[in-house]
């Protein structure tokens, strides 16, 4: 897979030419629409919601929000060229030129839900020698949490470069107070494998998110498997948490998610 984020900063990569090429490709239109529909499917929103689309680009993801459920959306993106294409296409959403790494510039409780399609992996890059990905991720998730109403939900489809990046993103989301986890579609298919970060900002019962037929990234089993009778309380809780996850519930993010082999699917 090509990784534009390793070649240039986003506002440089998505220049006028690339933004037009990107938006007019029917293959890209199709993939982005499909992933946005999947993100909405995971969020199970009521109609008429106020939604933020982070890294909205030319509006390929946002326009699905207008079509499905009559939502009103606001898009933010760092690339003026992408936003110019969105204006040309006359998308319904309000547009903002902004860098998500500097925070979400909205007051507390603004949005019912947030989606981001193929964008947040850019946060893990240091495009200038002063940009610290760790600080940018923290600012991003802190301000995102605040901008959501309590009970608000987030779905970010992203392209992690490696396990470390997944861990970095999940860790930052957890540190900001989010609950949730990772949904992986088409895991066996290396080329089509898709990652969705699904988060909730307080007060959400597990039924509020559609977990049918999906799997949540879970803490791998300890290597030295202990006998049930010997286990400590902590191990018992972890085992129960594991069981809950297996049954497709959302539980609080664990701190040591990744870097180890994932267990087979259920």
């Amino acid at each position: 897979m090509s990784r534009p984020e390793t070649t240039a900063p986003p506002e440089v990569f998505y220049n006028d030419l690339e933004s037009k090429k990107y938006t007019s490709s029917s293959r890209i239109q199709h993939i982005q629409a499909e992933m946005t529909l999947r993100a909405l499917d995971l969020l199970t929103l009521e109609p008429h919601q106020h939604i933020l689309d982070i890294g909205c680009g030319s509006g390929l993801s946002g326009e699905i929000l207008s079509q499905e459920g009559d939502h009103v959306w606001v898009g933010m993106d760092i690339s003026p060229s992408m936003l110019a294409v969105a204006l040309d296409r006359d998308v319904a959403g309000d547009l903002l030129l902004a860098d998500m790494g500097n925070g979400i510039p909205f007051r507390a409780g603004t949005f019912d839900a947030v989606i981001s399609i193929s964008a947040i992996q850019w946060l893990c890059n240091a495009d200038t020698n002063t940009a610290d990905p760790k600080k940018r991720l923290a600012r991003f998730f802190d301000s995102l949490y605040a901008a959501l109403r309590r009970g608000g939900k987030v779905a970010c489809q992203f392209y992690p470069r490696d396990e470390r990046q997944i861990e970095q993103i999940l860790g930052a989301a957890k540190a900001s107070g989010f609950a949730g986890g990772l949904v992986i579609d088409d895991e066996e298919n290396k080329k089509n494998k898709k990652y969705y970060l699904i988060l909730t900002a307080g007060n959400v019962t597990t039924n509020d998110i559609n977990l049918k037929g999906i799997k949540i990234e879970k803490q791998p089993r300890r290597t030295a498997k202990k006998n049930k009778r010997e286990e400590t309380t902590k191990e018992y809780i972890n085992r129960k948490k594991e069981l809950m996850r297996k049954r497709g519930r959302l539980v609080a993010l664990d701190s040591h998610f990744t870097g180890r082999k994932r267990r087979p699917k259920f």
Partner: protein, 136 residues
């Protein structure tokens, strides 16, 4: 940018977002090179959406923004609506829809009361990118 969005954006500077002065951003000082320009744009009317958003609207901020944009007609207190489908509320919901969703700020500038940073709006897109010295 819709008036609805203007009722939610706040200063992007980290130190400001911790103070109450980061919201609302103010339209009271405009510059000659980006003069204030408003426009009406038709948007499909959804009474349910307006009804859903009404509790979240900061009414004092909305009246301030409207006044700075030259509209002194808003009532002092937020109207109350119990049922979005009640016929007696339809006109009120339509008026709110026109104000919040169909009033576009095409260009102009917004000022943070705390740090003084000016956010310019051009082609209806506000620029929230921060100059290096304001990134923390």
């Amino acid at each position: 940018m819709k008036l609805l969005t203007a009722n939610f954006v706040q200063c992007s500077v980290k130190a400001c977002s911790a103070t109450p002065k980061c919201f609302p951003l103010h339209f009271d000082q405009q510059t000659a090179d980006v003069p204030l320009e408003l426009a009406h744009e038709d948007v499909d009317f959804s009474p349910e959406f307006v009804y859903n958003m009404l509790p979240r609207i900061d009414w004092p901020a909305l009246t301030t923004t409207a006044r700075e944009l030259g509209n002194n007609m808003l009532p002092e207190t937020k109207p109350e609506i119990e049922n979005p489908n009640a016929p007696e509320h339809e006109q009120l919901l339509r008026d709110l829809h026109t104000l919040l969703l169909e009033t576009q700020i095409i260009q102009g500038s917004m000022r943070c009361e705390n740090c003084g940073h000016i956010y310019f709006i051009r082609d209806s897109i506000p620029n929230f990118l921060l100059p290096g010295h304001l990134v923390q």
